[in-house]
């Protein structure tokens, strides 16, 4: 099937994009890597009047380390995130999870910010952003806002981004050597969206784990950080109990791949495996 007709604008700068938003309002849709939008266009599930291509805006791309924060430009391609030494060194969770994002041809074109702005609940990067406590920089002609990842994702493919805003940069605190992390995903096939996934970070202390940020994704409307898991420090003997409690606290959507009960069983298994990783140094290296 072929896309229906639209007007295509090649934005050379953010200002050109803002001008398009001003002129066309809700009719204008941002085209970044296009790896989610293009299928929707080709299937005529999306029929926007105007596409604003932000790929030419060079300032939106790139990875830099500033004050122990990684700044990833929104149109940085997945492949460039995956291959960056900075990511391997400072954000090993992203480095691991990004290999699970789709396939080579998609990662070569798809963008980091595009995946976040698209907010598919089964996507890997939104979950990692929440686990890493990322901050999203949103710019419009009028203002710049900074939104925490945990507040950015509102529902299935719904975010806090306004139609006149561009997600420009994602700021992620670098992981330190004391930081444990884990990533587990269950998908039908390599590269498929997650049926259930877990992204987690914590500080490893001799007495157990602290500051546990445990994010379950793929089975609810958005990646969700577990409040139960965050409350106390955790010793290894309590891991199974916590995994069960977190899984029971989920409200999974039933889909073609399983009902809520199935998803809870799978989530519990993955949470348990993630917690095991967090306790064992180098388990996920």
């Amino acid at each position: 099937m072929k896309a229906s007709t639209f007007k295509y604008l090649h934005a050379q700068s953010k200002d050109e994009a803002y001008a398009a938003f001003a002129e066309y309002g809700d009719e204008a849709v941002i085209l970044a890597g296009g790896q989610s939008l293009m299928p929707m266009l080709n299937m005529r599930l999306a029929q926007p009047a105007v596409l604003v291509d932000i790929n030419p805006i060079s300032e939106l791309s790139g990875i830099v380390l500033l004050n122990q924060q990684l700044h990833i430009g929104a149109t940085t391609r997945h492949v460039d995130v995956a291959n960056a030494d900075l990511i391997a060194a400072e954000l090993p969770l992203i480095g691991c999870a990004i290999k699970q994002v789709a396939h080579r041809g998609i990662r070569n074109r798809g963008t980091f910010g595009g995946s976040l702005a698209h907010a598919d609940p089964a996507a890997e990067m939104p979950a990692c952003a929440v686990a890493l406590d990322a901050t999203f920089v949103l710019q419009s002609r009028a203002e710049e806002r900074r939104v925490k990842a945990v507040d950015f994702f509102l529902g299935v493919m719904t975010t806090d981004r306004r139609p006149d805003e561009i997600l420009t940069t994602i700021e992620l605190p670098a992981q330190t050597s004391n930081d444990a992390w884990a990533f587990h995903e269950l998908s039908r096939r390599h590269g498929d969206f997650a049926l259930v996934g877990v992204a987690a970070t914590a500080r490893r202390r001799s007495e157990g784990l602290e500051e546990l940020r445990l994010v379950v994704f793929g089975c609810e409307e958005r990646p969700r950080i577990s409040k139960i898991a965050a409350s106390t420090s955790l010793s290894q003997k309590d891991a199974l109990e916590l995994a069960t409690a977190v899984a029971e606290d989920l409200d999974p959507m039933s889909d073609l791949e399983g009902d809520a009960k199935t998803k809870r069983i799978q989530a519990r298994t993955l949470i348990q495996r993630a917690l095991d990783d967090l306790f064992v140094e180098g388990a996920n290296g």
């Binding site: 072929k2 639209f6 295509y8 085209l31 299928p39 041809g105």
Partner: protein, 160 residues
């Protein structure tokens, strides 16, 4: 009807200037406007990989990029890659190992495989399988493809 957009790009080493319908994806442009029918459309929703082409040195899904986005780009298709003699070992290995049957997925598969070989990382069979997982083949069952890529990759690493 939307306004036609002028684009100028390099395709298989030659400069091409055309007017394109903004909604036309790259693969339709290559197939219909340029007669480069070696890239195939298996789904047009970015899953099968049969439309894979190389844009600015990287393999992408031709159905998930607009022709209008390729203004100034360097595009290579299976036709150009074959004519340039690139990936000759890989192509020969595919033929010798019978790593294709109907051949519909093969140009896309070869482009992806060529990128893996060019990166020159030592990969085990499961890693090669994962790297090729974005290209669907419905005929071969993949093993012969993995054999062919593994053979060429090991050969290349031996030379290096």
């Amino acid at each position: 009807m939307a306004e036609m957009l002028p684009i100028k790009l390099t395709v298989n080493g030659a400069v091409v200037s055309k007017l394109v319908d903004p909604r036309q994806h790259l693969t339709d442009f290559l197939r219909i406007d340029l007669g480069l029918t070696g890239s195939h459309l298996g789904c047009e929703h970015g899953v099968c990989g049969a439309c894979s082409v190389r844009v600015n040195g990287q393999v992408i899904r031709g159905c998930l990029m607009l022709a209008s986005q390729t203004d100034g780009a360097d595009v290579q298709t299976i036709e150009g890659i074959f004519e340039a003699g690139e990936a000759a070992e890989l192509i020969a290995a595919f033929v010798a190992r019978n790593a294709l049957q109907c051949g519909f997925c093969t140009p896309g598969m070869l482009l992806t495989a060529a990128e893996i070989v060019a990166e020159g990382k030592l990969l085990d069979r499961q890693e090669i399988r994962n790297e090729l997982s974005g290209n669907i083949c419905r005929c071969t069952g993949y093993q012969s493809i993995i054999d062919a890529v593994e053979m060429v990759l090991l050969e290349k690493l031996k030379e290096a």
